[in-house]
């Protein structure tokens, strides 16, 4: 494998891994630190990677492993993490902006509170743009099980908005 090819493999996956780390660790410095470690770990272990497997599947396994371990260690020393804010442009209907911001914040809370299995699948699906098949490979699970976790996550979101009568938000704007 040429070094330019390896370069592009790392580059191609960097953003997706960073997003995943940021969503799981909820802190920019930690996410940057963890992503750097993941890339470093993968780079140093390229020798042990069997090329018949997909590089990204291997990388995601390392990433999840590292992020969980990072988050476990962090829990002991630092519990408060920075809350992310939404940066909406000032233009447009201000009522709509405030309303959307509220909905997004609620959604953010629900996702944050999802059980680990469901959250992991949700984030891999939405933030790393992976197919269910791919997620199943990374997690060593059946596609059905992955879909099930995703379903329960989405159902939780739906139930929350339904309970609060927020499902008609399109019409309320």
């Amino acid at each position: 494998m040429k070094s330019s090819e390896i370069n592009s493999l790392f580059e191609k996956n960097y953003k997706r891994i960073f997003r995943l780390a940021l969503k799981m660790l909820k802190n920019y410095d930690d996410a940057e630190d963890a992503t750097q470690n993941i890339m470093q770990l993968a780079y140093e272990n390229l020798d042990s990677f069997r090329w018949e497997a997909k590089f990204s599947t291997w990388l995601y396994r390392i990433a999840l492993n590292h992020i969980y371990s990072y988050s476990n260690k962090r829990k002991k020393r630092q519990k408060n993490v920075s809350k992310l804010n939404y940066n909406f442009p000032d233009s447009g209907n201000p009522e709509k902006r405030i309303y959307t911001e509220e909905l997004f914040k609620k959604l953010d809370e629900i996702i944050e509170d999802l059980p680990p299995k469901q959250k992991e699948v949700f984030l891999l699906r939405y933030y790393s743009n992976l197919t269910f098949k791919k997620i199943a490979k990374i997690l060593h699970k059946k596609v059905g099980t992955v879909k099930s976790s995703y379903f329960f996550a989405m159902k939780k979101i739906k139930e929350f908005f339904k309970k609060k009568d927020l499902l008609d938000f399109e019409e309320q704007l």
């Binding site: 990433a63 933030y127 269910f132 329960f152 989405m154």
Partner: protein, 202 residues
Amino acid sequence: MKCIKDKEVMDYFNDELNKTRKKEIAAHLDGCKKCREKFREWQAIFSLTKDYVEKDKEDMQIPDFNMSKLITISDETVEESSFSLIRYWIKPAIAVAAVVILSLTFLFFPAKKDDLPYNDNFLVLQDNFMEATAPQINSINIAYLEEALLQEIYSDDKLRKQVLSGELQDYYDIIMDDMRYNELEDSDLELLEKELNKLKAS
């Protein structure tokens, strides 16, 4: 055609259905108000989630990736270790010691289910790298609770009858979806269907 289950609606919005099934669903929606409402609700949720994720991603300030930084750190490590002959011997020695200590630890304190398969010791990690499976961290895992709940329903006669007779429609949906998704044996499904029909008839 029967009404469309939530999980299939989800498959629809995730483009996981074949063309024939999509057509069947479209035809069913034309004549079923209840399912149309269900689809409308799910569509609202998927569209909100998509907008949220897009905005969230857009707002993320992702630092530039610098491949040369990786190479530099890595090269430094190699250089450092090649300078020292002692290091060359110490590493395997530590590795062996670590393996022995770890084995002893596991012997006396068997691993809990939610233990991380990750070990801090990089040398050990290296050996187990390919075998490492990442996401087995389930300390507070509601998905497990859901599974436990299903088991409870299966084992409790009264509860199972309530579920099967449709008194607890939500549970019934969860069980049937769970079976479909986890590719349970056809014989199990048949058995359940039979029991359900018997209950319905009585």
